[in-house]
Amino acid sequence: MHWSLQVVEAVIKTVVILFGLAFPLASILTWQERKQSALIQDRIGPNRAYIPVKGLKKYRFWGLLHLVADSVKMFFKEDFRPRQGNRFLIELAPILALAPVLIMFAVIPFGDTLLIYMPSLGKFYESNLTVAPLNTGILFIFAIAALTVYGSVLAGYAPESKPGMLGSMRASAQMFSYEVTLGLTLVGIMMIYGTVRLDDIARAQDALLFGFLPAWGIVYQPVGFFLYVAAATAETKRIPFDLPEGESEIVGYFVEYSGMKFATFMLAEFIEVVALSTLLTVLFFGAYHIPWLSWRMDVIPWLTGIIGADTVIPVLQFQAVTFITAILQFLVFAIKVAFFCFMQLTVRWTLPRFRYDQLMNFGWKLLLPLSMANLAITAVIVLIVDSI
């Protein structure tokens, strides 16, 4: 296949995963965080914004228009620049906070392979529904996720602000501590599925374990799941691990930023929530699979039976089935991701913030030994099962 077509294919897939999943979900999350916290705390939440059109009723859409109002406000706010500090690094920090999170979506599989008929070649082209199906998979995600620490460190360090500096020091110490656990928890998943490619891990979760359990990551690694959620929440700096940006003690590493740059940090945080949810879905909750319903064995034959009833051209029929399957897979994936976003927001509005020594003790003295024990037990079991 010509390289330009491959570029087009990659761009289309990038657009699908970023503008079809990450950005809409992240921007809805900014509204949902306010609305959901309100409902949890027996309040009503944002419900005021409406478009003033004469003669039209005030449609408020459950406060969804606050999203628009907020973003318009952020665009028109003054972009205050502190006089001291390094200008270049100040401008660089929000970009460094946002970019790695977006790059993480490159290896997320949002569907199985899509077969496209190429008339010029006379055969089907197999397109993997991942932007970049890298062989390094999970390792790539670790490498990129570690880069986000530069954004928060530079944001506190570059403007020479003391609360910001304190926040970024907390952020760096916390993120480095929890990265160890984060890595170790996923080694169990790698050993069980025998690969680090995320699309292969997603495909492997189609099977049934003992004939009745879906072979999802959480079935194999229940302890690893909880450890991963804890470590990843610390990694994304959200409550109960939001020491770097604790509003009530230090404002945080982005204290010197205003306007759209501040909004970039907030957007990065919400996209991190989405990214964490996608990873949870792919690694532990069967990616785009519906439990006890296999795409290859059940859904595709069923769809072929429906669509293929009176089609004349078999290629066209096959093409329609594959496209509908891909869209359904993407929908299943998106629903799972949205559910985990909801769960993360619920955690954020349930738990209080850790003290800093509690945070470090929790990371080094509880999570790390547990993840190592989990790793050892998994290794033994995998060895036994393989040798049988």
Binding site: L39, I40, R43, I44, V347, T350
Partner: protein, 233 residues
């Protein structure tokens, strides 16, 4: 010595003190080591998650736990004794006129000098059942930004011409100039529902006219109406 109670609390944990009746109950986990179940975090966290999710679902599906009201549309009833924004009253008998006679007693009583009155002459004079009125306010301004809502003007008024029964709990504007209430604004304000009910209760029904403003604002104290409600005013 004997009257000083012995210190029984030393060497006892808060729970033991509570069981011995020596201390108030303190069940916080600060006072005892965590149990193994609590150290595992997952159980207590899922308990808390269950609580928040239950609140979320109940509010999301049935909207039944809300403890807030939508302020500008829904307002909590204010107390009948609430001193809100002032208003000027009307007399109804023998015909509808403003009650104020521009005697400037309220202006004198006002501790923050927020009332400005310019008196004009009534020609010909106006006669009520009990008096002859020569003056009326040409200007009656109250600067709400300066007013401290002490109610001394209401106390000072010999004619019951100024009251603070509108029940307004805020006066907001974009400029300070808008905070100055003029005579006609003050005359157009209405009393609260409470006030209307209270007056309905205290005045005999046959004196009441159908129009609310004529019924309740500025009833003149004739001997006939003052007969059984004189002290209540």
């Amino acid at each position: 010595m004997a009257d000083k109670p012995a210190d029984n609390t030393t060497g006892k944990s808060p729970e033991e003190q509570y069981k011995a009746g020596l201390a108030l109950p303190r069940f916080s986990s600060f006072n005892r080591p965590l149990t193994l179940w609590e150290k595992l975090y997952i159980g207590p966290i899922s308990k808390g998650m269950g609580l928040t999710i239950r609140h979320f679902l109940e509010n999301f599906l049935f909207k039944k736990r809300y403890v807030v009201s939508q302020y500008p549309e829904e307002r909590m009833p204010v107390s009948a004794r609430w001193r809100g924004t002032h208003r000027l009253t009307w007399r109804t008998k023998p015909d509808v006129r403003m009650t104020c006679v521009a005697c400037k007693m309220c202006e004198m009583a006002c501790p923050s000098n927020c009332i400005t009155i310019v008196a004009g002459e009534l020609d010909p004079p106006y006669y009520t059942n009990r008096q002859r009125i020569d003056k009326y306010p040409v200007v009656f301004d109250i600067d709400l930004a300066t007013c401290i809502y002490c109610g001394l003007c209401v106390e000072a008024c010999p004619e019951d011409a100024i009251r603070m029964d509108t029940g307004a709990i805020s006066s907001v504007s974009f400029t300070r100039k808008e905070q100055i209430m003029h005579r006609d604004d003050l005359l157009n304000l209405e009393p609260t529902k409470h006030e209307i009910q209270w007056r309905e209760h205290s005045y005999p029904a046959e004196d009441l006219l159908p129009n609310i403003r004529e019924r309740y604002m500025g009833t003149v104290f004739t001997p006939a109406t003052a007969k059984d409600s004189d002290t209540s005013e």
